[in-house]
């Protein structure tokens, strides 16, 4: 995680687009007192550098996956990265970090029933080679949460480039 060099205009741009990504370049340019070309260029650079991406956040999926769980995973140190990448491929898993501390991997998943959670934690993750132990903790109440700050992966960036090429 390297520190990005962003100036005040970049930050204002990110803030405006975090509220509504479908606002036109013209409107943003007008609001921020810069040219449309500047806005277009800045957005392109931020995307290419993997600092922002544009997506849809919905609440209607919540009816299907209404609860969040933290799954701490103990893994052979040699297998940590490969297991973390495999866990990241599970559709219910929204976040995966390699950690130092109580466990080697922390996965955050959304689930809709305890059976569903059992399937992810015990059947899918625990059965991966190299995994010794999983410890699950369920969020009873979420008091603070931010869906706007994410990890933009190399795969996300590759997809943006494909979209650009298509355009």
């Amino acid at each position: 995680m390297s520190a990005a060099q962003l100036d005040e205009l970049d930050r204002q741009l990110i803030e405006a687009l975090a509220r509504d990504a479908r606002v036109s370049n013209r409107k943003i340019a007008l609001d921020l007192g810069v040219t449309e070309g500047t806005v277009r260029g800045r957005i392109k650079r931020l995307q290419q550098d993997g600092l922002i991406s544009f997506t849809a956040i919905t609440s209607f999926g919540l009816a299907d996956s209404a609860r969040m769980a933290f799954i701490g995973v103990e893994v052979n140190v040699n297998d940590v990265r490969s297991v973390a990448e495999k866990i990241a491929e599970l559709p219910a898993v929204n976040a995966v970090m390699i950690t130092m501390g109580r466990f080697n991997i922390l996965a955050i998943c959304l689930f809709n029933s305890l059976d569903n959670l059992l399937e992810v934690a015990s059947d899918q993750i625990l059965s991966m080679p190299g995994v010794h132990h999983v410890e699950t903790s369920i969020a009873v109440k979420t008091v603070k949460y931010n869906a706007r700050v994410v990890r933009i992966t190399a795969a996300d960036r590759a997809r943006i480039e494909v979209l650009d090429d298509d355009a």
């Binding site: 990504a21 957005i43 931020l46 976040a95 501390g101 979420t142 869906a147």
Partner: protein, 195 residues
């Protein structure tokens, strides 16, 4: 391990949901996952297909989406507006941790003693370094995600800020050495975001 068999009871005893100040401080959605959604809002296959296209590229024009899906641009525009107005959809820019200069990420499990965990968490979320906070079942009572610009900020946060909150018995960190994935495309959407 003291909560091993007690969490279901604790969940039932949890006081009713209430609004917290944190959401207004940072202007972000701030509600629990269940309970705030109404089921009278219907979406159909066209809505789902539009959302799918927006997940791929939130800046795609109505016309581009319309062409891909065989709809008209007016339909796409109206469908998006309907979902947005019902607080079911937000099309947004998400930014990477590094765009905010967050170079240190850690999860911290907190054990609370002699005070309701709901009160302790209210104090924790006042700190901007606390990026996410949940009341959880299991061995610990609170699970937070801390985002820092630099490790130098750690002593002050733990000793002077968290250290002054009554009721924290212990804090056990797991330091993220690599974030493989962190993206939530389903999240509570709060009407207050409009403000």
């Amino acid at each position: 391990m003291r909560h091993e068999h007690g969490w279901q009871l604790r969940a039932l005893l949890m006081p009713p949901r209430r609004r917290t100040r944190s959401g207004q401080l940072d202007g972000l959605p701030n509600s629990e996952f269940v309970g705030s959604m109404s089921n009278d809002f219907q979406i159909d296959d066209a809505d789902r297909a539009i959302v799918e296209q927006l997940r791929l590229n939130g800046r795609a024009t109505n016309q581009q989406i319309a062409n891909t899906l065989g709809l008209t641009a007016a339909t796409v525009s109206a469908r998006i507006r309907r979902m947005e107005e019902a607080n079911k959809l937000r099309v947004v820019a998400v930014s990477d941790f590094s765009a905010h200069g967050y170079n240190v990420l850690m999860e911290v499990a907190i054990e609370v003693d002699g005070r309701p965990a709901t009160d302790v968490i209210e104090e924790l979320v006042q700190f901007p370094e606390v990026f996410a906070a949940h009341l959880v079942t299991g061995r610990y009572d609170i699970d937070i995600l801390v985002a820092l610009h630099d490790f130098d900020e750690l002593p002050d946060l733990f000793l002077n800020k968290f250290g002054k909150i009554p009721g924290i018995r212990s804090m056990v960190p797991a330091i993220a050495v690599d974030v493989i994935k962190y993206k939530f495309d389903v999240a509570p959407i709060d009407a207050r975001e409009e403000a």
